[in-house]
Amino acid sequence: MNPIAIEATSLNKTFKTKIGLWKTKTKSTVAVENISFNVERGELFGLLGPNGAGKTTTVKMLTTLLLPSSGTAKILGMDVVKQTAEVRKHIGFAFSGSRGLYNRLTAIQNLKYFAELYALEPQVTRKRIPKLLEMVGLSSRGDDRVETYSSGMTQRLHLARALLHDPEILFLDEPTVGIDPVGSRELRQTIKTLMSLGKTILLTTHYMAEAEELCQRIAIINKGLIVALDSPDALKRRISGDSVIEACIQTGQAHILMERLHILDGRTVVDLKNGAEPEKLCIRTPEPSRVLELLSPYLNPQYIQGLEVRNQTLEDVYVTIIQAEKQ
């Protein structure tokens, strides 16, 4: 059995739009540029990136909804362009948002319709729909129209729809966007259950905690390019040794502290988050004791109102990488 579930090799996607009054000019937008990665069977792989980074475009190419401009993508060894119909039988996908279901139908009517699109036998459909509704916590609302659902319920119904044909591979594109914390936690729990059932999952998100909690490996994507790919721990080790010192500063005093820290070498990065009240100074440094020593004369409410020293989180890694890319 092929241990690789998803294989993307030098995937590119460029959108071409006709512009101008007579549509004579063509504007090209590179959405995905030379992306390559593999996802092993049973793995939960995360695609992280800011809005517009190319995450959804990548997922849509892998789910056969978009044709790549160049490069190849294989699902369970099958080419997404040449063996489209076969690939579709083995994958399920759910996108964020309330679109993608018939709002005037009930959850059960929607699921019955999509079950038929996947040519499920009636006896399978009859058994699976109640099970899936139970799994996503919608058993009691199955006969209600989707238009009466909250965002979280709709998202969970999307997941049930994606699982109807019991696919081996699941693509979840920002599944917790717009869902309240309790709903997000429940959805993450469902994703963990799916993992325990041996599903391969590709998850896109820009919630770092979610990625850190769920993903075994993460690719950080920015402006269509993969800029980092590793396990969450390994990514954190990349800038390991660095500590993060967050100081709440009395408004207007930050420049004094920044000047003071200016004597440190380039390995220490000082970032002022103004706009917050009080202002917040975020210092990422391999020598926290030296920073604390420099800041110690200012440890009084006139300058520093609060101070926290902590290890790097995935969010710090992400911000570092994305900011480095910007520069």
Binding site: T63, F95, R99, G100, K112, E116, L117, A119
Partner: protein, 263 residues
């Protein structure tokens, strides 16, 4: 694709009815609009000095008008509606081809249109005392089947044509009346200038409808009817061939441009 996906047909028809057909908009399309056309036809007939309205072209013509309007609007806007709901991506991403879904939808729309025609027949019989004594039933039956087939072909063609680009959707809005006039829904085709009759010849509906109207009026000239049926079938097949070509273009285009989910 499965040989004959009866369960899919049943589900698709159910979805079509629940999401689209059973609402007031469809009531207007399939009942009120044909009734208005019939009323206007009767008034014009009366103004022209006829004591009784021309039932085939006025009453039943109104029913045909309802069928046609239903096909144009429902088939054309099915894909747009799905795109707007975000369901189009889900359908395209499933193992069932969009072509199959379009075919079933168009069939549903055509058969729903029969409701307009049925009402028109009932009105002709019950209200206006239309007699079935002279009707060529075989001619009507075969012609009606071919009319449904021709409308189904046009429905599938329109669905793809509309999905092709946003510009094409603009044209569909202008199709309803010109096609109705060209095909002689509410008057005999012979009253049109010759060049318009030639132009209407490219529409399979025109040939099947002409055969049906003549059969309703008692025409038993089988060579006339068979010729019209043969032409209706031939042109319908040409539309199917064009539609197949268009389907490949459309499905490639929406996957290249990423227009599956854009509104």
């Amino acid at each position: 694709m499965r040989a004959m996906p009866w369960r899919l047909i049943k589900q698709q028809v159910a979805v079509q009815f629940r999401t689209f057909t059973l609402d007031f908009w469809s009531l207007g399309l399939f009942v009120i609009q044909p009734a208005v056309f019939t009323a206007v036809g009767m008034l014009l007939s009366h103004a022209a000095g006829n004591a009784m309205p021309d039932l085939v072209y006025t009453v039943i013509g109104g029913g045909i008008m309802g069928m046609w309007s239903g096909i144009v609007f429902t088939s054309s806007f099915d894909i747009i509606g799905d795109r707007r709901n975000g369901v189009l991506e889900m359908i395209v991403g499933s193992p069932t081809s969009l072509t199959t879904i379009e075919a079933i939808r168009s069939l549903t729309n055509v058969l729903t249109g029969l409701f307009s025609l049925g009402l028109a027949f009932i009105a002709a019989l019950a209200i206006f005392g239309y007699s079935l004594r002279n009707v060529n039933f075989w001619g009507v039956g075969v012609s009606l089947l071919l009319l449904l087939f021709a409308m189904w072909c046009i429905g599938v063609f329109l669905a793809n044509f509309l999905a092709w680009s946003r510009v094409s959707s603009t044209f569909v809005d202008y199709l309803e009346m010109p096609v109705a006039f060209l095909c002689g829904f509410m008057y005999p085709i012979r009253v049109l200038p010759v060049w318009l009759q030639v132009l209407s010849g490219v529409l399979p509906i025109r040939w099947a409808l002409q055969a049906m109207n003549e059969s309703l009026l008692g025409n038993r000239d089988w060579s006339f009817l068979v010729t019209h049926w043969a032409v209706a079938i031939a042109i319908s097949l040409v539309f199917i061939a064009i539609t197949r070509w268009l389907q490949v273009k459309v499905q490639d285009s929406i996957r290249v441009n990423g227009e599956l989910s854009s509104i």
